[in-house]
Structures are given as structure tokens and as C-alpha cells.
Symmetry: C2
Subunit: 413 residues, 2 copies
């Protein structure tokens, strides 16, 4: 459908009656411009945490299917209240659960993936002139059970709906103004990025710029959905995420990200034999531990050190697994270091610009920051460094690539 | 299905984690006896009131469809938590919304009626050995919207499920021990009734013994579902509601009920013409005012007084309507009296026992209680009296019919 937009409002945007009315007002204004609106809403404020608390009052290990049944009520409350707020303004509106909104998922409870959107009812209600308000974060699987998509899943719901409805744009309303060249709390002259490509956004999202769920970016890229990340507290334009021609991607580095939720794990004296890496990392994968940067150094003859980074939250669990693997491999001790952080540069232009990584290393060296581990992909370079040096490192790299200045305002055109 | 029971637990039975575990324990015990269990659960404690508060924070007039969307979350939370509590005990259980449980209703939001139960999924889960926990009070209409059945609707859900599943009995767990011959707070020697007929229960339910929703009794009578009203705080047997042969119904009066939520309305000097009563009572019905006892007295030539009773809550609304009707009919003034209460006797045997009403009137007269209005049906006699005399009246009538003694313990057999 053309002349239609999908908007997503997060939990803080609907936390109080006042904020909820502000959202209704924004939707009402958009609609008065003759634009159809489908809105996706998250659970209010700390409602999800309150429901989790009630579950843990009952049992330490709630079944995942029942957690989904429980948590889905949070968004259902939000959509009903927002429909009421619109009705009070005389705007015809209808709320729908994820299931009613046609969100069909796989069967993996608490972390389901959207398989399809059946938009028949959505289209019927939109064509009847109603604002359609869909519960984010949830869907229905093949056996008609309620599923949820995991934290941040409402972003994915919104992008998937925009794809299914052929909306002009999917606006993600959040509590920041958009995507910046670096965290403005660390780098005072960080600049709001008017445009980024899907690939860049994916790296930025994964690397700690927590404004958009990576899975939502994947779905957007797959279906070429134009996404705009913007603030629900003002009317400023935000950051547009969309497909960009290679020619447009002449900017080498678009942003510097950092992530403190990192721990470094080192397994010493691993026998240097085929299949060893597979044993280690398949054991971690089976245990649900996400491994990021991996480095293998041949430190002595016939043995090697295996170094990798993980989420700091997974540290205890990863150690258990590694102790078991260590025994099986007859390797040396397992060491962990939580005093690390990750600094990364992201930019699609990097692939055709050799020497970008070297510039980053140089900037860090001049600042006296020691690099512990390096990892690169086609559009990013990540370095593990000591956590206490992270802010200095981010500022140095941000300056090196002159991101705080504004050499190309025309890029948005 | 045989060897299956349906249990319904009200909001106080699941209000705290402790109470919820007690319910799980009761279900687990029943199941360990080899009995299949389908449980229907209400929203926890004051959850429904909390949701209503949130709606009224947004608007004075929430659309009914959106109220249903909102309120249905209360029961969904309860069923998920109860399934978790059973899981913790190692009892396989699955929670279902009303829609998933196959509860199909008409389209009247906030006061929907169950049209059908599609028990396919229920039966599948029960046959898989699971305890099935269904959200009470809610269902789905033809256009796949969520509906609710109105206050007390969980009773009706439970009875309808018992009918659809062919359960052996539908147990309604509440915070009293069952149905008494009179309110034990008023009549200390009131006796728990081991058995009543559907017709008797219907009158008892309608007349203020608030242990079972009248609509639930209607559905039970229609499908011959055996219902037992009992306490969730102990393991005593309660009151069985079931079909009784006329021969069994030799007991003339089974109980005395009273209701203080009553107001008396008198319209003076109504022209004594055909169609007048129709004008008055259709206006009230259109306004949603439920009229109970109606008496018409020919006090003077060609004019009459019209007296009727209503719920006290409807007083202001009823007065507005009556003032309008009074003008149209050119009748005398409208008077209302809130200082009244209703005392009733109920018993299926009454129909074949003339003189029962007279015995009631005699008992009230000996107590010095003046009767203002009388209304009778085949199985009940109701009297409006002054509210301050209601407790004395109930005790006098209870004594008159010797309900506190126990002349027929064998009736339960």
C-alpha cells in the first residue's frame, strides 16, 4: 500500500498516560496529513520486568512457552490503551495482538523468528480508514501458540509489517535522536548520521549502538524497507537506513562504536591439531555462548593460544564449558579478563580503501592505547583494549577520521 | 470424556504466589488420583480493577472492544503463572487463552455470551496427559476479536467447558463453603445445602447468594452439567447443583435470601390505559435498567400507581428515564425509596404446596415487619421491606421453615 507508514514506539514512549497521549497526538497529526498509519507498540515502562518478577515468584525455571504467554500481555495492554487514546481524539483505531496482526513465527519460544506476515486483516482495517495498532515483540506459531521475539523484538515486528504492507517508511521512535558517529556521552562533538546503509547499520547495531535490533536491520535489508530511527520526544529528522549505491559509499568510516559488555577468554597451550577449534567453538555454541572476536596465536611449537571475546554476562557459563573442553584437549589453563572493552570502526567504503585499519591502529598508538586483539570484516575493524582506556580510544579514533566535522551534508540528498 | 473434571478458581484463589501454589497442589493431587483436569482461572486479586484504572487514566469512555482487549490480559497472566506452578511440581500443564480454548462468543463486547465451544485442542492436550488451564471470562467472536463475558463470566466459561468436554463434574472453587439456607453472617444456624436443583440455584443466584453467576446456572441446566460449589480454603464437600426428580423436591423451601442493593420506584397517578406499562418498562429496558418486582395498584378511579424495584446502582439513571416518561404520560410525581431490601424464599416444591407464601407473610407479621411489595414466581416469593428490618425478617422466615435444623440429611444420597 502506498501513502502508508509504519511507526514503532518503544516502552518509554508509552510508559505514562501523558507519554501515551503524546504518541496518540503524533499519530493523529500524521493521519490528518492523509497518510495511513500502522503502529507497533512495546510493553509500557517496566511492565515486562514486573511480569518476569511474578513468574520468578512462582518458579526459578518457568517453561518458555508459558513465559511467552505471560509476557505477551505487556504489549496487549499497550495497544489497547493507545487505541483508547486515539478514540478519545476521534481518530478511528483498532488494536491487534501479534496473532491478529498476522505475525507468524517459528516455534522457538522466547526467541522466535518471524516466518511470514499475513496482512489480510491489517489491510482490511487500514482500508476501512482505521489506524491499526499491533502488539510488538509477539506472534503466533504453527500450532497457534503465542511466541515472543526476544528483547527488542518490536523493531523486527515493525520492519516486517512495513515489508508486508509495502509501506513508504518504517519509523522507529526511541529516546535518542538517531544514530551518531560515536556515543555523544563519550564524544561531545559526535555527529548525527543522516543516512547509513543496511550493512553499516547492521555492524553499528551489533557493536553496541543500541538503537535498532540487528535482526530488524537484517529483515529491512532483505526486503529493502526504508527505516528511519528518530526521537519520540521531538520532531527532528533522525537517521535513515536504506540501500545505498556503492558510489554513494565513498565515506570510508561512518562511525566509531564501543562496547563494555565484553570479556576476553584465553585458553593456553592448545595442541595445534586439525579439529581443535571446532571442538572448542561448537561446545560454546551448544551452550548458547556467543563468541565474537577469535584469534589464534602460535606461541610455541606444536601448541597455540586460543583467544576470543564473549558477552560479559556469559562469563561463568563459558568458563564451565571451557574447563570441560580443556580437560578433553589436555590444554593449559583457562584465563579470563573482564577489564577489556571493544572499540570498532564501521563503514562500507572500507572494503575498497586499504590502509583504513592501519590509520585506526596508528591513532590508538599515538594515544598510548595497547591493542590486545584485532578482528576485521569487510566493513568493520574491532580492537579489544583495556576498559579504562576506552573513552580516550573512541575520541582518538573519532578525531582521526574527522567524524565530528561535517564534510558531506549533501549525503542525505 | 469420562474421568475428567473441570475446576474453576476465582481471583482470590490465585491472588498471591502462596495461594496459587495451593491451587497447583490441589490440581496435582486430583491428577495423581488418575483424573483428568481442565482448570478455568480468573484474573489475580485486583488486577482487573488495576487495568480499569489504567484505561480511565486515558479516557472516560473507553471503546468496549478495546476494554475487552485490555481486560483479557488479566486472565492470561493467571493461566500462564498457574501452568508454571504445575510445571514446578512436575505436572505437565498447558495454558490457553479463551480463544485457544475454543470459547466462541457473540459480538457483544464486555457482555458477550458463549455461542459454542470448539474443544478440539482441549481434547488433544488432555489426551496428551496435560492439565489444561483456560483463561476464564473471555472468548473470541466471529471476526476473531477478543471478547469478555462480564463480571463473574469465568463461572460460565467453566460450565460451558464441562458441557463441551462431557466432564463428570464442574467444581466452582470460591471463598465460601457452598450455598447456605441463608447468609451465615445474618443467620448463625444457617445450614450448608448439600444439594439444590438448577431452578433453585438460579433463583438463589439471582436473589443475592453471590456464589455462582446466574448465566452459568442457565448453561448448566441446559446441558445437565453437575456443578459443585466449594471452598478453595479447605477440602470439605460443598453444594452440588444438579437435576433433581420432582419426587426429590419435596422440601418446600430450600433457602432464604436477602438483597440490600435495591431501590423502590413509585410512579403516582398513571392513567389506567392499555400500553402504559409497555411504555414505562420498554423505556427502562432500552436504558439498560433491570427491573425486578413490579406491582400495579388501582388506587383511584382511572389512575393507578406503578411500583417496581431496581438495583440501587441504577437509581440516578432510572430517575432520568422516569422523569421523561412521566411527562409523556402526564402522570404524577416519581418517588424513590432506597431504604428498602428484598427478602425471598426459594424452593422448587413450592409450586405444588399452596400456603407457603402465606406462612412467610405470617412469620413477617408476627415479627412486626411490614411488607411493601410482594412478587412471586413458581419457585420463589419475594417481599420488599424496610432495610433496617432485613436481618430480623431473614431470621424469622428461616425459623418458620425450620431450615436451621437438619430434617433430611439423606437428600444428598
Amino acid at each position: 500500500m502506498s501513502n502508508l507508514i509504519v511507526q514503532k514506539y518503544g516502552g518509554t514512549s508509552v510508559a505514562t498516560a501523558e507519554r501515551l497521549h503524546a504518541v496518540a497526538e503524533r499519530i493523529a497529526r500524521k493521519r490528518s496529513e492523509g497518510v495511513g498509519v500502522a503502529a507497533v507498540v512495546s510493553a509500557r515502562g517496566d511492565m515486562t520486568d514486573e511480569l518476569i518478577r511474578q513468574a520468578h515468584e512462582i518458579t526459578d525455571r518457568p517453561p518458555r512457552r508459558e513465559m511467552d504467554m505471560l509476557l505477551a500481555t505487556g504489549e496487549q495492554i499497550s495497544v489497547a490503551l493507545l487505541a483508547m487514546a486515539l478514540d478519545r481524539r476521534g481518530v478511528p483505531a483498532i488494536s491487534l495482538t501479534g496473532a491478529q496482526g498476522g505475525i507468524r513465527t517459528d516455534q522457538v519460544h522466547t526467541k522466535a523468528r518471524i516466518r511470514a506476515v499475513e496482512p489480510k486483516r491489517l489491510i482490511r482495517e487500514l482500508e476501512a480508514g482505521k489506524v491499526v495498532i499491533v502488539a510488538g515483540f509477539q506472534g503466533m506459531n504453527e500450532v497457534e501458540d503465542i511466541t515472543t521475539l526476544g528483547r527488542g523484538g518490536s523493531d523486527t515486528t515493525a520492519v516486517a509489517l512495513a515489508a508486508a504492507l509495502g509501506a513508504d517508511v518504517c519509523e522507529i521512535f526511541t529516546d535518542v535522536d538517531g544514530v551518531y558517529t560515536a556515543d555523544p556521552r563519550v564524544v561531545p562533538n559526535a555527529r548525527l548520521l543522516p543516512r547509513v546503509s543496511y550493512g553499516e547499520m547492521l555492524e553499528l547495531a551489533s557493536l553496541g549502538a543500541a538503537v535498532l535490533q540487528p535482526r530488524a536491520v537484517e529483515v529491512a535489508a532483505q526486503h529493502k524497507v526504508r527505516v528511519e530511527v528518530r526521537s519520540s520526544f521531538n520532531h527532528n529528522p533522525g537517521t535513515v537506513v536504506e540501500e545505498m549505491e556503492p558510489m554513494e559509499q565513498d565515506v570510508v568510516v561512518v562511525g566509531v562504536t564501543h562496547d563494555r559488555n565484553v570479556a576476553k577468554v584465553t585458553l593456553r597451550r592448545v595442541p595445534d591439531q586439525p579439529g581443535v577449534a571446532h571442538r572448542i567453538f561448537s561446545a560454546l555454541a551448544e551452550g548458547g555462548v556467543n563468541v565474537d572476536v577469535i584469534v589464534q596465536t602460535t606461541s610455541q611449537q606444536e601448541v597455540t593460544d586460543m583467544i576470543f571475546s564473549i558477552n560479559r554476562d556469559d562469563r561463568v557459563h563459558a568458563l564451565e564449558i571451557m574447563e570441560r573442553v580443556r580437560g578433553e584437549l589436555d590444554a593449559g589453563p583457562v584465563e579470563t579478563d573482564e577489564g577489556v572493552a571493544k572499540v570498532s570502526i564501521v563503514g562500507a567504503g572500507m572494503v575498497s580503501n586499504p590502509g583504513v585499519a592501519a590509520r585506526m591502529f596508528g591513532a590508538l598508538a599515538r594515544e598510548g592505547v595497547n591493542i590486545q586483539v584485532i578482528s576485521t570484516s569487510e566493513i568493520k575493524v574491532s580492537c579489544l583494549i583495556a576498559e579504562e582506556e576506552v573513552e580516550r580510544a573512541v575520541r582518538a579514533v573519532h578525531d582521526e577520521f574527522e567524524l565530528g566535522e561535517d564534510p558531506e551534508m549533501e549525503r542525505r540528498e
